[in-house]
Symmetry: C2
Subunit: 228 residues, 2 copies
């Protein structure tokens, strides 16, 4: 039983957004698929502990923004590793209100769909919401981000509430110069640097500026530990 | 509203298999995702009119074989465009019985998961079956087939019972030398030939051997029409 099997399931990377009492929230999701073609319905698996879950359960509408391959890690960090309870994720963000009343994230989106919840299924820690698609559009010709690309090329991780979250097993062989973010699992690899933040390849973790923060979740340097 | 939006959702390509009264059947699916991580559950959307639906509804078990990128179109045609009511799809096929009792297709699979149905949700033409994963394994290091690759590189289509099926709109500009399979939508393009069947690029449809068949669904030449 090799857990690699789960990592061979193909996914995209999406922002699922909703509204409650005039407030917007959204989160990263990968578990999304089309259920039927006539009428067009889509399903998403959302963690019950996430704020977006509460918003969808209340307003019965949601949108899905399909992210582009070149979406910055900081953007994914905002929607994937921060809670709308602490941050207004829609501040300074290009978005609009859709036909259903759900907010639609437009920044870094190659397409969107918005839907009204027609059915839901409680599955332990998550709920599958099935929505009938009310509107959709394509926003550009860039390649959509796949979960495989996010993992292998961008070195991204799944947050703890993701359906695809995996507990990290301690490694037998340590790479002393790599540092792991204890909040989101991002690994700072000096061989790669952090080009999105202007840190060139080859810079040691110890030589990063004091105000450098995790490109995924925004944690400070003090939240990092040497990789075990 | 550009339907291209739906085509930007990322999927893999899977064979979902089940058993009833000692008989095996399986079908191509792309709508599959992980629902929860503890316990590991997965969901599939299966058309009610498909034989595999009846088998899963009866035996409450199913397996998912994750197909490799180089899976032959004839194999996809067998599982995607032919019914187990007419054909024993498991004849001459490498497979084994899993822990749940479900058959697992091993040919062209890079990994598999098998599951016991714990919940289901009727959604019009389809049912979402949620299964708790009982066993899984990785079978190779080849790249998994993505739906995007199947469509854009392999020129594959969705069968009519797929959640992602789209009615083809007639084209305004005809390309007289291309022929379309009226059963599965496969397009014979003389510029590409049909290398899997030994037909080199550059051969006109009219010059194909009389016993040439559609590489996807096995239809005869007489089932083809000039592309409109």
């Amino acid at each position: 039983m090799n857990r690699e099997a789960f990592r061979k399931i193909s996914y995209g990377l999406y922002v699922v957004s909703s509204i409650q009492d005039g407030k917007f929230n959204g989160q990263i999701a990968n578990s999304m698929f089309q259920v039927t073609s006539e009428p067009s319905t889509i399903a998403v698996s959302i963690a019950k502990e996430n704020l977006t879950h509460a918003y969808i359960a209340s307003s019965r509408v949601f949108s899905v923004s399909i992210l582009a391959e070149d979406t910055p890690m900081t953007f994914i960090g905002l929607f994937g590793f921060k809670s709308g309870r602490d941050t207004d994720k829609f501040k300074n963000l290009k978005h609009r209100i859709g036909k259903t009343g759900a907010p639609i994230v437009l920044d870094h989106a190659v397409a969107y769909l918005e839907a009204k919840v027609v059915q839901e299924l409680e599955c332990g820690s998550h709920t599958i919401f099935v929505g009938e698609v009310a509107d959709y559009d394509s926003l550009g010709n860039e390649a959509p981000m796949t979960y495989s690309y996010y993992h292998t090329v961008r070195k991204g991780k799944a947050p703890k509430t993701a359906p695809t979250y995996e507990r990290e097993e301690p490694r037998a062989t340590a790479a002393a110069s790599r540092y792991v973010c204890t909040l989101c699992g991002y690994v700072y690899d000096p061989a790669l640097g952090d080009p999105e933040s202007g840190v060139p390849a080859g810079r040691a973790f110890e030589d990063l500026p004091a105000d450098w923060t995790c490109p995924v979740c925004g944690a400070g340097k003090d939240q990092f530990e040497p990789e075990q």
